[in-house]
């Protein structure tokens, strides 16, 4: 490492500790660059009600993954996949089965919305989505968007959020053939057992689908801790998971008149997740026996109409999430904790677009009703939310400009606690993008986005720490982005990058207000973020049978605490947020064989906001690799056999302090599709 640092110091000059870290990082980058590869982007976009699949990058989609890319990377869940998104920090509490939340560009997990087939997955109780609850076997695409969007398939409430993850599944896309089947089974280390089966009947005008998933994981992996003088290998316990998921869907398209198309879709899903919560490793003590059970039911439907000048999508979604947290060993007067929560959410809205020549008028509104019952002393929180939007976009000769204004209205009521409050916020968004007429294959964009997120029910009412005087947390994002595409003969290149500045104020944070054991939630935090990211994609068709694809991205972001000038952590990088992240994906396709290699580098972080040596968490670099053989049979049937290894170097590491991650592990997967 010293030699490496010397080389990099020679190249970049010596600038103390910062330079040392940078030079280490450069070493990792160079190593990864020469050893890893990836894919070209293909994206799925909706136009006039027809799904068009093209090989072109879109500047408003920050990162996107299609089904082939997801299958090649073989992530255990959505959280693991999104670790490669530039600017995203995934708080991973222990690998497969453990909770994972996302923070994009320092905004905090509550600023990220998740859309499943166009239906928001809201959880006003804690405001964040556990990404580990999303398995990707049935997923057609995953897209992460940060920039302002105008797509009518996105509900207004999601457009207003700081950033958004959109998933499209097999169950909600129209069929390519009369009968489609997908089935897979995976067996892996530490008791990983997964099975998935789904079918779809129909065609491009109608479909009926159903799928079922099962997942079980023992999670009893071995690990060692840093600074352990005994270098003792321990076994993670109370880390198991079992989940079931069943969903059905249907859809129909029809025409009235010459140019008016209609589409209606329905979906329903039931999910059950039983998970143990091992918590952080507490030195010298026994692991906990905490359990979390989640049951989720969803019923949704949408209707879309498309004509030459007018498009509109309306949706309604009913969601119920029941949580049960059980700690059989808690040292209170009962000897246990058994908390139960029942969230009910009803949401509906519309988003439309009217076109006159090159002027587009966007409009829409979402209304949501949220209700929480619990066994804790939270009262009975109820929230009604209304988000309305009006905007216009104009395509000029060399530029596209867009301006949108959102009105965010929230009414909270909790009769048992005699609390009632309402908030109103105006949130503008602006975008300027260069057109292809101005610069061929090169595009620039400049955008600004203001967003607000309401305090969650836990932040408002949770016993002892809740604070009913909270107001919404506000964020401002500014971004300059660029994209260059090159397609010639058998070579495809895409280079994308961003320079960004974010500001969060009235940040809702927990502070001790009575003593170390009695904390309260308050609007006192400020976070400032600036950074840059760069991604590079290369696809080369070397011969008819051989193709190589490479994707690489790097992000540097300074996400600093700006809450209180007199605080020792003022200006320090906020907890668990690396300054540097880097990912590389390499894919080599030869006949029916596909070799995939990927690496992920997460730079140094701090366990707490104060950036001192004690709080410092080591950087880590993790390699995964797998090989897939696609056995193509008659009638377009394909049997895929995939064998892989994760954490190839058997690195002992954790992202969150003392939430240990699994070492080297293996999997084998059989997947059949018709």
């Amino acid at each position: 490492m010293i030699l490496l640092s010397t080389v990099c110091n020679f190249l970049f000059g010596k600038r103390g500790v910062q330079s040392h870290h940078f030079s280490q990082f450069c070493g990792y980058c160079m190593l990864c660059f020469f050893s890893c590869l990836s894919f070209a982007q293909s994206d799925t976009s909706e136009y006039e009600g027809v799904t068009v699949i093209g090989k072109h990058a879109k500047i408003d989609e920050h990162n996107s993954y299609n089904r082939q890319e997801i299958q090649a990377l073989a992530p255990a869940d959505l959280g693991i996949l999104l670790k490669r998104v530039s600017g995203a920090t995934i708080a991973d509490y222990g690998g497969i089965g453990s909770m994972k939340t996302i923070s994009v560009r320092g905004l905090g997990s509550t600023h990220t919305g998740v859309l499943l087939n166009g239906f928001p997955q809201a959880n006003p109780q804690n405001g964040q989505t556990d990404l580990s609850n999303f398995q990707l076997e049935n997923t057609e695409s995953v897209a992460v968007s940060i920039a302002p969007l105008q797509k009518i398939k996105v509900p207004v409430s999601s457009l207003m959020q700081g950033n958004m993850i959109a998933l499209e599944t097999f169950q909600q896309t129209f069929a390519n053939r009369p009968f489609m089947v997908r089935a897979s089974t995976t067996i892996g280390s530490f008791g990983q057992r997964e099975a998935y089966a789904g079918f779809k009947l129909g065609n491009q005008r109608q479909f009926l689908s159903s799928s079922a998933q099962f997942r079980s994981y023992d999670g009893d992996f071995h690990y060692t801790l840093p600074h352990d003088n005994l270098n003792k290998e321990r076994v993670r316990s109370n880390n198991n998971l079992t989940s079931y998921n069943f969903s059905i869907g249907c859809g129909k398209k029809w025409r009235t008149g010459k140019n008016i198309r209609h589409r209606v879709r329905m979906t329903s899903q039931v999910k059950h997740i039983q998970r143990s919560l091992p918590g952080a490793v507490i030195l010298y003590n026994s692991p906990t026996n905490e359990q979390l059970t989640t049951q989720q039911k969803q019923l949704g439907g949408d209707y879309s109409i498309f004509s030459k000048r007018f498009r509109l999508r309306a949706f309604a979604n009913l969601n119920q999430q029941q949580l049960r947290y059980f700690d059989p060993d808690y040292l209170n007067n009962q000897g246990f904790i058994d908390n139960q929560y029942d969230n009910k959410n009803l949401q509906g809205g519309f988003h439309g677009k009217w076109t006159w020549d090159k002027l587009h008028l966007h409009f829409g509104s979402d209304i949501a009703l949220h209700h929480l019952n619990s066994s804790r002393n939270l009262g009975v929180p109820q929230r009604s939310t209304s988000i309305s939007m009006i905007g216009a976009s104009k395509k000029l000769s060399h530029l596209s400009v867009n301006a949108t204004l959102f009105h965010h209205s929230i009414n909270d009521q909790n009769a048992p606690l005699t609390h009632q409050s309402s908030y109103n916020r105006w949130n503008p968004q602006f975008t300027i993008t260069t057109s292809e007429e101005l610069l061929d294959n090169l595009q620039f964009t400049l955008w600004y986005k203001h967003a607000s997120r309401a305090p969650t029910f836990n932040e408002l009412y949770y016993s002892q720490i809740g604070n009913t005087t909270l107001i919404p947390e506000e964020s401002q994002q500014m971004n300059f982005g660029y994209m260059w595409l090159f397609n010639q003969n058998s070579v495809n290149v895409a280079v994308k990058g961003n320079v960004f500045y974010n500001n969060v104020h009235n940040k809702i944070v927990a502070l001790p207000t009575q003593n170390l054991f009695v904390w309260s939630i308050q609007n006192v935090g400020k976070v400032q973020t600036y950074g840059t990211d760069l991604s590079f994609e290369l696809g080369v068709q070397i011969s008819h049978d051989l193709r190589i694809e490479l994707a690489s991205s790097v992000t540097h972001q300074s996400v600093t605490d700006r809450s209180k000038r007199s605080s020792p952590s003022y200006g320090d990088q906020i907890a668990n947020t690396p300054r540097w992240t880097q990912s590389n994906d390499l894919q080599i396709k030869w006949k029916q064989w596909t070799l995939t290699s990927s690496s992920l580098y997460i730079g140094e972080r701090y366990a707490l906001n104060e950036n001192n040596v004690t709080n410092q968490l080591d950087a880590y670099l993790v390699f995964d690799a797998n090989i897939n053989y696609a056995w193509k049979m008659k009638k377009s049937r394909v049997l895929n056999v995939q064998v892989g290894v994760k954490n190839l170097a058997n690195r002992s590491y954790y992202h969150i302090n003392y939430f240990v991650m699994p070492g080297r592990n293996y999997f084998i997967k059989l997947a059949y599709e018709l």
């Binding site: 490492m1 030699l3 600074h227 005994l230 030195l283 007067n333 207000t513 104060e610």
Partner: protein
């Protein structure tokens, strides 16, 4: 081209050979003329630590436990005391009692405080006749033989016991019930140390914490209530005759030096910290404004030194490293020592 390949080879080689930096060995043989500070750390961070302040050079050494023993102290250090040449450290979330040589700070034994495979979460300790008494959140007081360093017995007390104090052959234990908030406990038990059974129960107010005794066998307890205006955190006295009286003095933590009790209180709403001195013999306040509280960010306790100075624990915002603030007899700040996260206990080494 050869040069580039060489660079790549060197990079691969050096990265592949990366090893963890070994801990720096800065062992010390003998600790004297200084302050040993126990830093509580934060729950689930395993960052409880010891800091050493050399009073002759005023140099500060952090992570002393790690340097002397090449392993972390554990999660959430709550109490620390010297008895019979040994230093005892109560580590709450790790559920251990660390026993060290008081002069070298080398580990003699780590006593796991587990019962039926579950951590007992120890909180405070006191000593009497070659026995250490350790209150634990599981509702027991462990009795540990200080010669054999083995657990001899455990006495069932109330919910989540906190502060303990010994008067003659009686052990007083404050049962907080803090983990059942808002249905907390409100009792102090008197335990006969001969029979090791509960002899008396005193209802002192909700959520009792620190306990201090005086020469006249009076017991002072901080009943923390609900920390709000309706039931503030105040000082309560149990007289030797068993009479209970709320003295109406705001109190968060109490400690004593000879016949003077130091009562620290931090008002989280106003951000003001006060230290009140109380004459235990005359049972009267000496000063209700003993220090200039504006010079402390978050008052987290007080340690009266054998010399005429007072050391204040400053927890800052509980997630940043704290300070030991040294005040002179006039109540003015004369020195600050930057220590670990949430300093909670201090021992003055002569």
């Amino acid at each position: 081209m050869n040069y580039r390949l060489y660079i790549i080879f060197i990079i691969i080689l050096t990265v592949a050979c990366k090893k963890e930096d070994p801990p720096v060995n800065e062992e010390k043989d003998h600790f004297s003329n200084g302050l040993l500070v126990l830093n509580e750390g934060l729950f689930q961070q395993n960052n409880a630590s010891l800091s050493w302040i050399d009073l002759s050079s005023e140099a500060i050494t952090t992570q002393v436990f790690f340097k002397q023993n090449e392993r972390p102290l554990g999660d959430t250090g709550n109490d620390m005391a010297i008895y019979g040449g040994k230093l005892y450290i109560v580590v709450n979330a790790s559920s251990t009692l660390e026993v060290l040589n008081a002069r070298t700070l080398k580990s003699i034994k780590q006593i796991p405080l587990q019962y039926n495979g579950q951590g007992q979460q120890p909180r405070h300790l006191a000593f009497h006749q070659n026995k250490a008494y350790v209150s634990s959140y599981d509702g027991f007081v462990n009795i540990i033989d200080t010669s054999t360093l083995s657990i001899k017995n455990r006495i069932a007390v109330g919910e989540n016991p906190e502060g303990i104090a010994i008067v003659g052959d009686q052990l007083y234990v404050a049962n907080s019930g803090g983990l059942s908030y808002p249905d907390v406990d409100s009792t102090v038990y008197a335990i006969d140390l001969i029979s090791e059974t509960v002899k008396d129960t005193f209802v002192v107010g909700k959520n009792p914490g620190d306990v201090v005794s005086d020469k006249e066998d009076d017991i002072y307890v901080v009943k923390r209530g609900d920390y709000g205006d309706s039931d503030p955190s105040e000082l309560v006295r149990i007289s030797a005759a068993g009479t209970i009286m709320n003295l109406g003095i705001d109190a968060s933590f109490i400690t004593k030096k000879k016949d003077v009790m130091y009562i620290s209180h931090y008002n989280y709403d106003s951000g003001e910290g006060t230290v009140t001195t109380f004459d235990l013999l005359n049972e009267a306040i000496i000063s209700s404004d003993h220090i200039n509280g504006a010079q402390v960010e978050t008052l987290y306790g007080v340690h009266p030194s054998s010399s005429e100075v007072l050391y204040i624990y400053d927890a800052m915002n509980f997630t940043n490293t704290g300070y030991i603030r040294k005040f002179n007899d006039n109540g003015n700040l004369i020195q600050s020592y930057h220590v670990g996260l949430n300093p909670t206990k201090l021992i003055h080494y002569e």
